[in-house]
């Protein structure tokens, strides 16, 4: 076993470090987790929950947490997959967990199928929602050759029951087949956007017209550039579909281009931060977020960049190329992390004409060693 990689800056990048550790079979030592916070030092409940999730996904993992919870030593085991049920705490939405384990999903012993319980909507300021991941990350799975063999074993994210923050009760099912190795990508042509699709979701709001008003407002913005816009309304009440006890209103919109590039944006009502926001304002905000994403360009969304980078390093020893709009701070940290764990340095090339960045790297030749041969 190789030496542990040490991090002294606490819970930053918590999920990715653990996941990189599992994928690279290198132990990690994370120190100073909220050590300055005298009130609540140490790991938060959602982080502990994430550790439990990893524990149920692996065999032979060892986790040592000190008394105050400010230090975590993690020794990775073998990824298992299989049927897992996970109860997420109400402090973080399901999206945080889902986003966290996505890079691991195709590398288990058997097909992964997780039922999450917790918050599904209303946290998109912090984390991508399940709907967002469904729209923007699932196409990426196919790009890397995951779940393209047959329909039975396709990658799926299904929201079984909605529940907005702050009280939980929603259910999300995530299913992902395993692969022996990923296929390298060459994803550099953004094409031209041909259609815009979206869903506006309302949760436990009596008037279903709220969702329609969001959709109408968003469409108003999009119609300036494209006629092919279609935004569904998805109104959930506790009576009809059964949803969580908290009200919520959100919008997920995505563009699709001639070359299959899908850019997605989402926004939601956040009472705590914004106070009362009109549904129209919400719709317009969501539309502008998407236009922002379009303006940045590139072939994938800003929020799934780190997933793409992670997998690009895990491809066979071939060149993977990807065009992105702009690097988010989170993805920059991912790049550094990948260098630390896998020794892969990306080639970053700014494309001046389109104001985008061309990323390319040579994969590490990662193979799913957990998968048994017959």
């Amino acid at each position: 076993m190789s030496k542990a990689i040490r991090f002294d800056d606490g819970a930053t990048q918590f999920r990715q470090r653990l996941i990189a550790s599992i994928l690279s079979h290198r132990p990690v030592l994370i120190r100073n987790i909220r050590a300055e916070d005298l009130e609540n030092p140490g790991l938060k409940d959602y982080e502990a929950s994430f550790l439990r999730l990893l524990d149920s996904m692996t065999n032979g993992s060892k986790m040592e947490i000190n008394n105050t919870g400010t230090q975590l030593r993690f020794q990775p085991g073998v990824l298992l997959g299989g049927d897992i049920q996970h109860q997420c705490p109400d402090s973080r939405s399901i999206g945080w967990f889902l986003e966290g384990i996505m890079p691991l999903a195709p590398f288990g012993k058997e097909e992964l199928s997780i039922y999450f319980e917790g918050i599904t909507d209303g946290c998109c300021e912090l984390d991508p929602s399940a709907d967002y991941l469904q729209k923007s990350a699932i196409p990426l799975f196919a790009k890397f050759g995951i779940g393209i063999d047959d329909d039975d074993s396709a990658v799926r994210i299904r929201v079984l029951q909605r529940a907005a923050a702050p009280t939980g009760g929603g259910k999300v099912h995530f299913q992902c087949p395993i692969v022996k190795e990923l296929t390298p990508i060459n994803f550099t042509d953004p094409g031209r956007i041909k259609r815009i699709r979206g869903t506006s979701i309302s949760c436990k709001i009596v008037s279903s017209s709220m969702a329609a008003r969001v959709a109408y407002a968003a469409k108003g913005v999009f119609h300036k550039v494209l006629p092919d816009v279609w935004i569904h309304t998805d109104a959930h009440t506790q009576k009809n579909h059964g949803c969580g006890p908290s009200p919520g209103l959100s919008l997920v919109v995505s563009t699709e281009s001639t070359t299959g590039v899908i850019l997605t944006a989402e926004c939601c009502l956040n009472q705590a931060e914004r106070g009362a926001e009109l549904p129209e304002d919400l719709g317009q905000r969501g539309a502008c977020l998407l236009l922002n994403e379009v303006q940045k360009g590139g072939c994938i969304d800003t929020s799934v960049q780190s997933l793409a980078f992670m997998w690009m390093t895990l491809t066979p020893e071939d060149v993977s190329r990807l065009r992105i709009g702009s690097l988010s701070p989170y993805s920059v940290e991912t790049l550094r992390l990948l260098k630390k764990f896998f020794g892969i340095e990306f080639k970053l090339k700014a494309d001046e004409d389109s104001k985008t960045i061309l990323m390319s790297c040579l994969g590490t030749g990662y193979r799913n060693m957990a998968k048994a041969s017959t």
């Binding site: 999920r15 494209l226 317009q284 071939d318 701070p329 790049l335 390319s360 193979r367």
Partner: protein
């Protein structure tokens, strides 16, 4: 062919009259009229021979099918210049002529005589081919190593003696570790006296060889030895085939880098070794990178020593390069030889010193020989001459420090020389200068002396080379060199690897200035350097702008830039441009955007002038399609060919470009011109191919299955080609250093790998005859855990394998000893423990050790050392699954006896020892010997501890035994011991854990016997069943038939016997007649029986006599045999004594 017209061949004579002419005339007429009828002769185009036609079609289809295959991933470089020399392993038992074969091959290739053939011998064999010859020692460990790295195996077999066990063992090893190409070499053919005998043996050997490898495997017959070498013609034949071999990609080598070590140096500081001779050493290893990319941060396995981190990896110039000139044939002077461990030329490597043979003892200066009028420079000393270096040293006219002061260093070919003392301001430069060696004494010492036999193709390029190869110095200089290195180590303990430019002339370099200008412009335009932004200025390599370099022919200029990069920088060392971590909070959210706020932008998007919307309008299909600018998203330029492609991949017309190119053709030099033409030709070919393919598509109107299949295969092939092209071109454009950083050290580069912490016994016990291999490991393979594999005892191995006996496994690069647990899979998927491997079947084995990817081959050997008779390979198999734990279970029967029985309930004791155990087994199913099933209920409060209440489906007997069938998990033994044979002295001295049986034999401990396992006579007392008592009440209730009858015993005979019978006379007559008949028959039977008995006695007497006679004969024969044997023994004994 002008004469062709004149040749008057016999023409067909049309008949002018007769029936044929008439018919024809009629036909012509009818044709003119239009009244001609189509004839329908149904046999006209029919198949004459149905079966044969069918077979022909079938055969053709089969053959075409056979040719098609899904293209395998092949990581070998397509360019011979960039691929490492292919590794030819010469294997064979002792005394078959392996070294002779290598010597003969080297003589043919380079016209040099090798005295010894230790270590790898690299030779250039063609204008774009070179091979490394390696002799495989006859030890299992080394055979394993050789099999893992060989590209081509020359199996030497003594034809006079026949095949030996080693050959078969080696073939088996090859099979499990990926089968490289194998060619047979049969030697000692001159020892056959008769041609017939020779022919017969050849045939036999061939048959055996072909069954082992494949029908038609290549074999060569070497008849005799002349001057210590095989006959020239015969060896030539072999060389022809060696140069034509096509190598198949092997999975393991496609995914792992490896380096066959040409030589190594101990660079530990002498002070340290003096203080503590047993301290760990830092050692540099030299060799070509083969397989996939060797990454600087990678863990490597030094086979036979252990796992290590590479502390420094750098490239060196190729010691045995392929000639650069594009000649038709290989020139004699380019046929280089590189064999650092063999006694080539004037330098010989001893264990701890290097000796240079200076030829003559008395030395005369060249100037004196040729007269003073001619100025002789260093360069004119022939570096190939054995004493060239020494002469060079003696020719020095000024002291070193003087030279240092006046020394000038030319950084690039054609650039101005930089004089000593010139200061650079930038940190980068300073950083480098600390590493750059002073261009003093080493500069004068030509590299050629170090590698004798290498003809230096361009001596001035060597002059400018960095000299971080301490081995260059002779033994005198060793100490200073070592101290230098020590200082260097201290100064850069941060640095994990440095990268040096190097290698041959790469294609990307040809228009490096163009790229340099382009990239410069890009960088000028961009506000900040992305690479620095992400990886920090220290994280990247301190680039002193290698793009600014001239594009001279010399590729060695780059060697100068020994670069430093730290793979794991400390936080504080990040450059100022690097984004600090503080942006990300401990929230761990991907939505944190730094200072970017979207809210304010909502208004801008919705503002009236909608300028922002206009800016993205062209990204939608509704936008302006023609607005594409030059270098827009879709089109790209192929950097290799200079071709431009549209968004759809179609070739854009490059009129503008070609015009300018045409102009520039005039002032190109030869190489450029050739390049230009090659490009042009390639582009033409591609265009033609495209057109042709399109035509094919349009022609084939029907889309048959076959077509679809072909298309699919073609598509696959095309994709593969595209991918390999992209892999090559992607990182090339930014310069060699960037390339090394992004993709690691690719195959074909000559590398120097420094490894720290190698045990001192490696240096002490180094044996140059054993191959030394460094294999790269993926992070997963450094993991220790359990491996489950499917394994089969080798059918030639004499004994079955016992569970928990240690075995030596060879998986991937590693070989290690571990303790396997054998198991078999039951129908319900349960893995049941096996004490021994089945004799002729596969079984599962689970063992602890470093893991390798599933589907890798496994080979098991019981012992490496000692004299082992028979086939040494114990088992072969394949890795199935890796995990942290595997359930293997053993059957366990718990036995108890009932103490008290109520109806269907019984209290059972003796099965468990405590109530706790019982509660663990509550609900478990139990059974009596008689087959009554039941269940464990609850622990009983009283009675023996561990007794419990159980219920059964029927009442059980007190004499019944109750048992519970359970499965015990078997604990795997976590033992793992790498075979470190390079750390041991002598040939076969590595000893691992010994199996129990061997220990018992060695220590003379008798086999321990478990008294419980001994079969004892079973004492079964007769059971006396008590009388059946039926209660009176029950009896009364029974029907009469079932009632017990009160029958008393009869006294005397019954009435039938007692009564008197008076017969009638006729009756009496009949009765007496029957009696008479019976007595007659009885008499007859008796006589027959007597006769038979007499005959039997006679017969037995006869046979006894015969037996007696035979016994005597047998006895005599036996006596004769024993006597002869005894005589032979005695003779042998006598001989032994005589010898002794």
């Amino acid at each position: 062919m002008e004469g062709a017209d004149k040749i008057d061949n016999h023409k067909h004579k049309e008949s002018k009259e007769g029936r044929g002419a008439k018919e024809k005339k009629k036909d012509l007429k009818a044709k003119k009229d239009g009244s001609r009828k189509e004839r329908h002769n149904h046999r006209a185009f029919s198949v004459a021979n149905i079966v044969r036609t069918q077979r022909t079609i079938q055969r053709n289809l089969d053959r075409s099918q056979k040719k098609e295959y899904v293209p395998q991933k092949d990581r070998r470089s397509a360019h011979p210049n960039q691929s490492p020399p292919s590794l030819v392993v010469v294997m064979g038992p002792k005394g078959v002529g392996k070294s002779t074969l290598i010597r003969s091959l080297v003589k043919i290739y380079t016209n040099q005589n090798l005295t010894t053939t230790t270590g790898p011998v690299t030779v250039v064999i063609g204008k774009n081919k070179r091979i490394t010859l390696l002799e495989c020692p006859n030890q299992p460990a080394s055979m394993l190593d050789c099999a893992k790295i060989a590209d081509l195996v020359l199996l030497c077999v003594d034809a006079k003696f026949g095949f030996e066990m080693e050959t078969f063992e080696f073939l088996n090893i090859l099979q499990t570790h990926g089968f490289p190409k194998v060619m047979g070499v049969f030697t000692h053919l001159d020892q056959f006296h008769t041609a017939k005998n020779l022919r017969k043996t050849k045939k036999l050997l061939k048959q055996r060889f072909w069954t082992e490898i494949y029908e038609g495997a290549k074999m060569f017959y070497f008849s005799g030895i002349v001057n210590g070498k095989y006959l020239k013609n015969e060896v030539k034949q072999l060389t022809l085939f060696i140069s034509r071999v096509k190598y198949r990609p092997l999975v393991w080598r496609n995914t792992h880098p490896y380096v066959l070590i040409d030589r190594h140096e101990d660079i530990t500081h002498p002070n340290v070794t003096d203080k503590d001779p047993k301290c760990d050493r830092s050692i540099t290893f030299y060799g070509y990178v083969r397989g996939s990319h060797l990454k600087a941060g990678m863990k490597v396995h030094l086979i036979g020593v252990g796992d290590f981190d590479m502390s420094i990896v750098s490239t060196l110039s190729d010691p045995c390069p392929i000639p650069e000139q594009d000649d038709k044939t290989l020139k004699k002077k380019d046929a280089l030889l590189f064999a650092p461990l063999s006694n080539v030329g004037a330098v010989s490597f001893d264990k701890d010193a290097i000796y240079i043979d200076i030829g003559r003892a008395n030395y005369t200066k060249n100037t004196e020989l040729e007269g003073n009028n001619k100025e002789v420079s260093d360069r004119e000393i022939d570096p190939e001459e054995p004493a060239g270096m020494l002469k060079g040293l003696q020719d020095i006219d000024s002291a070193v420090d003087e030279k240092m002061e006046s020394a000038a260093l030319r950084l690039y070919m054609g650039s101005k020389a930089v004089p000593a003392g010139y200061d650079y301001d930038s940190d980068a430069e300073r950083d480098e200068s600390s590493v750059l060696p002073s261009p003093s004494a080493h500069d004068d010492g030509h590299r050629a002396e170090i590698y004798p036999g290498i003809k230096v193709h361009k001596s001035d390029s060597y002059k400018e080379e960095s000299t971080d190869t301490p081995e260059e110095s002779n033994s005198d200089e060793d100490s200073t060199e070592g101290s230098d290195d020590g200082v260097e180590d201290e100064s850069d303990d941060e640095s994990k690897y440095d990268i040096e430019g190097g290698g041959g002339e790469m294609s990307w370099k040809r228009d490096i200035t163009k790229h340099a200008v382009e990239s410069f412009l890009v960088r000028q335009a961009s506000k900040l350097n992305l690479k620095e932004y992400v990886y920090g200025s220290n994280g990247g390599i301190q680039v002193t702008d290698d793009q600014g370099e001239d594009d001279g022919e010399s590729s060695d200029d780059e060697e100068f830039f020994k670069l430093k990069a730290s793979s794991r920088e400390k936080e504080g060392s990040h450059g100022s441009t690097k984004l600090s971590l503080s942006v990300l909070t401990e929230n761990d959210s991907c939505r944190i955007m730094g200072n970017e706020r979207v809210d304010s932008e909502v208004d801008r998007w919705l503002s009236v002038d909608s300028s922002l919307i206009e800016s993205v309008r062209d990204k939608f299909v509704t936008g302006n399609w023609g607005a594409k600018q030059d270098g827009d998203l879709g089109s790209f330029e192929d950097l290799e060919t200079g071709e431009r492609y549209g968004p759809g991949g179609e070739v854009l017309s490059d009129n503008g470009n070609s015009d300018s190119e045409d102009e520039s053709v005039g002032d190109m030099n030869d190489a450029e011109l050739r390049d230009y033409h090659a490009k042009k030709k390639a582009s033409l070919k591609r265009r033609y191919d495209q057109d042709y393919d399109e035509k094919k598509v349009t022609n084939g109107s029907e889309t048959k299955d076959e077509d679809a299949e072909n298309k699919y295969l073609e598509e696959l092939k095309r994709q593969k080609e595209e991918r390999s092209k992209m892999n090559e071109s992607e990182f090339g454009e930014e310069g060699e250093r960037a390339r090394l950083r992004h993709e690691g050290f690719r195959q074909g580069l000559y590398c120097r790998i420094q490894i720290d912490g190698v045990p001192h016994s490696f240096v002490k016990n180094f044996n140059p005859n054993l191959p030394l291999v460094i294999g790269g490991l993926t992070p997963q393979e450094t993991n220790l855990g359990l491996t489950r594999c499917r394994i089969k005892k080798h059918r030639w191995h004499q004994r079955i394998l016992k569970c928990n006996d240690p075995l030596i496994f060879s998986i991937g690069w590693r070989r290690f000893q571990s303790i396997p647990t054998y198991s078999t899979e039951d129908e319900n998927g349960r893995h049941r423990y096996l004490k021994y491997t089945p004799e002729h079947m596969h079984c599962f084995a689970t063992f602890y050790g470093p893991q390798a990817a599933p589907n890798s081959g496994i080979l098991a050997i019981q012992r490496l050392s000692g004299n082992i008779s028979g086939f040494r390979i114990a088992a072969t198999g394949v890795v199935l699954e890796l995990d942290a734990s595997f359930p293997v279970v053993k059957k366990l029967k718990l036995v108890g006896t009932p103490t008290k029985i109520y109806k269907n309930t019984a209290f059972i004791s003796g099965m468990f020892n405590s109530d706790l155990e019982v509660s663990r087994f509550e609900g478990a199913s139990i059974r009596t010997v008689s087959g009554i099933r039941g269940q464990v209920k609850k622990a009983a409060r009283e009675g023996q501890p561990g007794s419990f209440r159980a219920t059964f489906e029927d009442k059980i007997l007190l004499s019944d035994i109750v048992f519970c069938r359970t499965w015990m998990p078997v604990q795997m033994k976590e033992y793992y011991n790498p075979v470190t044979n390079h750390l041991e002295s002598g040939d076969e001295s590595w000893h691992g854990m010994k199996p129990k049986a061997q220990l018992q034999i060695e220590t003379k401990i008798p086999i321990e016997v478990n008294p419980d396992s001994i079969y004892k006579p079973i004492d079964r007392p007769d059971v006396k069943f008590s009388k059946l008592n039926i209660p009176k009440k029950l009896e009364e209730a029974l029907p009469y038939a079932s009632k017990h009858k009160n029958e008393n015993k009869r006294n005397g005979k019954g009435y039938v016997a007692r009564r008197a019978v008076v017969m009638e006379s006729s009756e009496k007559k009949k009765y007496s007649f029957l009696q008479a008949l019976n007595s007659i028959r009885n008499e007859k039977v008796k006589i027959r029986k007597d006769k038979k008995e007499n005959k039997r006695i006679d017969q037995s007497k006869k046979s006894a006599k015969k037996e007696e006679a035979l016994l005597a004969i047998r006895k005599a024969a036996k006596k004769r045999q024993y006597r002869a044997e005894g005589k032979r023994e005695k003779a042998k004994e006598a001989k032994r004594q005589k010898v002794g």
